[in-house]
């Protein structure tokens, strides 16, 4: 089963490599791993999409918690949560297909962020399944290149990982800069 795990970590050097190393050393399968700082510059949040049965997921959670730099691990899959993926897609758009491509982009609430003579760059945000659907459709016109962020996620309503964040004192540090 596919799980979305949110991990709060101290923004220390090498944390990302500790986390990714754990996954490779123990043979867990990752779909995606995204990392970025939180509103607290001392803390980063890593969103990991991982596949495994109950036993594997139990170990993933425990092993992540065992890392000294880990503050909290939450498996969002069991909760109500919002997940988003962003894609930039460079797609062929010739004179005879331009309007069709634009229509598709509109349907999926995407944006055309760059226009060239024979191609567009399209920005689209949403759940993984939505992005997959756009990609499938655009394949018919010829995708030249594309990049996806992988899933980021957060639980709905009251912030569940807030308490853990408060435990870590904020010291002078540049906001928005990752030391990972």
């Amino acid at each position: 089963m596919r799980h979305t795990i949110s991990v709060l970590v101290h923004n220390h050097a090498g944390v990302l490599s500790r986390v990714s190393n754990l996954f490779s050393a123990r043979g867990y399968n990752i779909d995606s791993l995204v990392v970025g700082v939180t509103d607290n510059p001392k803390i980063s949040r890593i969103t990991i999409v991982v596949r495994g049965d109950e036993r594997v997921m139990d170990q993933v959670e425990k092993q992540l918690n065992k890392l000294i730099d880990t503050i909290q691990v939450v498996d969002l899959t069991n909760e109500d949560f919002i997940a988003r993926d962003l894609a930039l897609i460079k797609v062929k758009a010739e004179a005879n297909t331009r309007s069709q491509v634009m229509e598709i982009v509109q349907c999926f609430d995407g944006k055309i962020v760059d226009v060239a003579l024979k191609s567009f760059i399209i920005e689209v945000t949403g759940k993984e399944s939505k992005i997959n659907a756009v990609v499938e459709l655009l394949k018919n016109y010829g995708i030249l290149e594309m990049v996806r962020t992988g899933e980021v996620a957060i639980s709905r309503g009251k912030k569940v990982q807030e308490e853990a964040e408060k435990k870590v004192k904020v010291k002078a540090g540049k906001a928005g800069q990752s030391n990972l």
Partner: protein, 582 residues
């Protein structure tokens, strides 16, 4: 916060070491670590530094010291090759939960990443074989990192922590107050006990007819041997121990049914297979214990008491578990359990023991020396009172089977990683901790040759370390597998050329002994053990001996092979089956 004074990074390292109670450390110097060695030299009245011949020797000595005392072992090495030479020791300590702090020098900060002379990405290399590691980025954070390193190494499930210190930071000076505490919260390393689970376990014990305690090295790490004893004696439940757990429960107690697992006793493995409640305490369901997982203790409920959450349910599903400090858990459990006689269960176990007791070798005075006999003699002559270390292989298993440990921290062996070359330096580390004790490395001729350069340390520091080599001129355990599974093709296991170990001892200024008969074995062992000096005893043993019982890799525990005859029958049957297929 202590008063601040301008100090070098190296001085800060030494100050925190002393403050953490470190009396001794082992290491080998080099360019990048020079400032720290200089500070250690200048502070030799506060802390003792032992120079080793190889960094692997240094880290295994620190491990031996840690296992013998329960304190944090410390070693120090230079950058690059110095640091990579301790990687095996770090991995060994990680597998066997040994509290250890390793300090490594690193090239100056501005050279990191330039492939500088003797540069290696040490935190990168050691990330997966340490409990945690640090690269010190500024002198300001150095005291706190040192404090955290010790806290992490000894708290919760113990393990190795590495601190990599660039040369410029060790040499720089600053005024930095020394923190009193670690920044890592205790709850990160020691889980809170769920007492409702203790009740659940007590209830399962109450209803069990054939319970079995299966305890491991975690009991020794937690200093919970006495609590285990009280718990077992109060409940009257039989006890088996893992390789790492030997000594956690007195071997001469009537409830003790020997070691379990791949080379465990018949009764222990049968009890494991037929028990109806398995109580795992400080053990981790290692594959050398479980054998074939699908047939592992098939009819039992299982409970697990440990300090490491990742150990729960990793290999084997358990019906109840409780995490946290073992002394507290066992104390709570003892209050809730009663005693039962388990007569039928003990009768059954005794029946297994009568059918296949462990002591089954037959030493004839003129025949080749049997390794089991040698271990028995060592046990007899030391009255079971020595600190025993081992290398890895057949001799290790015979030592585990035939030397009986009544107290913890007398048995020092490399279990998880199986590191050949571990035992000799580990014995040296233990001898530094207990200079008046008899410390014996029961060694194989193959393993000993991996770290024997440390003989110089035995001589230099006048240590009472006896290396007793069970010499069969083979890598015996691998040969045993070749005998059983590779039609006796001895690929790379024969060691036809060896040093003369007696002369080797002598060239280091130590005494050497040799024996190749049973009678001489007793004589030289008596001589060697009477002396208070370090020595090598080279005993030529029968290379055809196998370690039994043996659960073949991947087989169920109940299908253990008990003797060569049985092995031969099994092999014949297999060959027959193969022939039939053709």
């Amino acid at each position: 916060m202590a008063k601040t004074k301008l100090k070098t990074g190296a001085q800060m390292v030494v100050d925190i070491l002393v403050d953490e109670g470190v009396e001794i450390l082992w290491g080998l110097t080099g360019g990048a670590v020079l400032p720290i060695f200089d500070a250690l030299y200048q502070n030799s009245d506060r802390i003792r530094l032992v120079d080793t011949r190889h960094e692997q020797g240094a880290i295994h000595m620190a491990e031996g010291y840690a296992k013998a005392t329960g304190r944090v072992g410390v070693c120090i090495a230079t950058s690059g090759p110095g640091a990579t030479n301790i990687v095996t020791g770090l991995t060994d300590a990680y597998m066997d939960s040994v509290p250890l702090v390793a300090i490594t020098g690193q090239v100056p900060s501005h050279l990191i990443g330039t492939d500088a002379f003797q540069e290696a990405d040490v935190v990168g290399i050691t990330r997966s074989c340490t409990k945690h590691n640090f690269l010190v980025k500024s002198i300001q954070e150095l005291p706190q990192i040192m404090r955290d390193a010790f806290f992490i190494a000894r708290t919760g499930r113990p393990g190795p922590v590495l601190v990599d210190i660039p040369k410029d930071i060790a040499a720089a000076s600053a005024e930095v107050p020394y923190p009193k505490h670690s920044t890592v919260p205790l709850s990160k390393l020691v889980p809170t006990i769920d007492f409702s689970q203790v009740e659940k376990i007590a209830d399962l014990i109450k209803h069990a007819k054939r319970p079995l305690i299966y305890a491991g090295g975690g009991v020794i790490n937690a200093g919970a041997s006495d609590a285990l004893y009280k718990f077992a004696r109060k409940t009257n439940i039989p006890v088996t121990l893992t390789l790492m757990g030997l000594g956690a429960y007195p071997a001469n107690d009537r409830q003790f049914i020997d070691m379990l697992g791949m080379h465990g006793s018949y009764r222990a493995n049968m009890a494991l297979t037929y028990c109806d409640l398995l109580i795992a305490i400080g053990s981790r369901f290692d594959d050398r214990v479980t054998g074939k997982l699908s047939e592992f203790s098939p009819s039992s409920k299982k409970v697990h008491i440990d300090i490491d959450p990742t150990s729960i349910g990793k290999n084997v599903h358990v019906d109840a578990h409780v995490l946290g400090d073992m002394n507290t858990i066992l104390a709570a459990l003892i209050k809730q359990v009663g005693s039962q006689d388990y007569d039928e269960w003990y009768d059954q176990i005794d029946g297994w023991q009568k059918k296949h007791p462990l002591i089954a070798y037959d030493q004839k005075p003129t025949a080749p020396v049997l390794p089991q006999f040698v271990v028995d003699e060592i046990f007899r002559l030391t009255k079971g009172d020595a600190i025993i270390t081992t290398e890895v292989g057949q001799h290790q298993m015979w030592a585990a089977q035939y030397y009986k440990f009544n107290k913890p921290r007398r048995w020092i062996t490399s279990g998880g990683l199986g590191t050949m070359g571990f035992g000799f330096p580990a014995a040296i580390g233990a001898a530094f901790a207990f200079p008046d004790a008899t410390v014996i490395d029961i060694a194989g001729d193959g393993s000993f040759q991996m770290t024997m350069q440390e003989l110089a340390i035995v001589k230099q520091h006048n240590l009472n370390v006896k290396t007793i080599i069970l010499n069969n001129k083979f890598l015996g355990m691998v040969k045993q597998w070749q005998d059983l599974f590779f039609d006796k093709r001895y690929a790379s296991t024969s060691i036809p050329v060896q040093p003369d170990f007696v002369k080797l001892a002598e060239c280091y200024g130590l005494k050497g002994y040799r024996a190749d008969t049973a009678k001489d074995t007793t004589t030289v062992l008596e001589q060697a053990l009477r002396s208070k000096e370090g020595c090598i005893v080279d005993i030529m043993v029968d290379p055809e001996e196998h370690v039994y019982p043996m659960v073949p890799a991947g087989a169920a525990n109940k299908d253990m092979v008990l003797s060569k005859e049985q092995d031969r029958e099994r092999v014949m049957a297999e060959m027959k089956a193969k022939g039939a297929k053709k």
